[in-house]
Symmetry: C2
Subunit: 150 residues, 2 copies
Amino acid sequence: MTYDIAASIAWTDPSCPVARTTDLVGDRWSLLVIRDAMDGARSFTDFQRRTGIARNILTDRLRKLTAYGIIAQVDAQSGKRKLYELTDAGKDLFPVIVTLRQWGERHAFAAGEDHSVLVGDDYARVPELVPMSADGTPLTSENTRVRRAR
Amino acid sequence: MTYDIAASIAWTDPSCPVARTTDLVGDRWSLLVIRDAMDGARSFTDFQRRTGIARNILTDRLRKLTAYGIIAQVDAQSGKRKLYELTDAGKDLFPVIVTLRQWGERHAFAAGEDHSVLVGDDYARVPELVPMSADGTPLTSENTRVRRAR
DNA sequence: TCATTCAGTTGCAATTTGCTACCAATCAGA
DNA sequence: TCTGATTGGTAGCAAATTGCAACTGAATGA
């Protein structure tokens, strides 16, 4: 089973960048694979153990994410085991993972429940990501809107 | 603000806020329903037309998102049609939608391809959301890491 | 009143997912 | 170098999820 990226994607909503992104990574497992890649996972077994995903589905997701240019196989000299790592486009999903994490911290835990935390090199927690206009006004769904493509 | 949804959900990875969030909204359609709610969709038919989702699946997603406290049916006096709108927790997904949109704009369109754009009340585009440490250093997957829960 | 839209429901087919078993290639240790 | 464990998958099948088309009963609108 192989994937030809151009041929295999029928965009849900071709003019919407949100929909294109969810078409690429918005399934049950891809974002968790990417989360683990950001946290240092590199081998098939790393990903399988950390996510708990079924092995055939992991095979499929790694191929798709590779076809989409989000991860790549590194050090694939023949006769060596393959490793995966994030491409620049994959690393650029960091803000997505951060906002998912921060929403989860705010809304998906009961008071007192423990969860993992994202910290910088100085061990300080990553501050909350808040959309702002150029002049510093906080932006929300209520003071923004989508201008449709021509 | 927390919800007692823990009883009804078998979390993929209970201590990870990213995984909890994807358990709640990380399927093929929920994020698009939320996107459309942020863009003014309120009725069943609004959502169905904008997303193109199958009607039985939309029924299911609206129920789940309601159960999760992300949308709510706004007080329709009995004998009035129901409308849905985002709760505060739902509105708080705005940064997630914004980062998905911005990644899509950067990586899911060929040069010259047209897409919709998110603007503020002044019609200026929403600036890119970049994780920063308290001292203003840009944060990436390479200078942050996950500190696991006790 | 009567047609039309709305908000679903139902039944079924197609697709996707999750086991479990299996396999060849690679690696680690004696 | 032999040997056993681990890795990186496949294959086959069952279960769950999704999509499609037809149907329904209420709400609306002219």
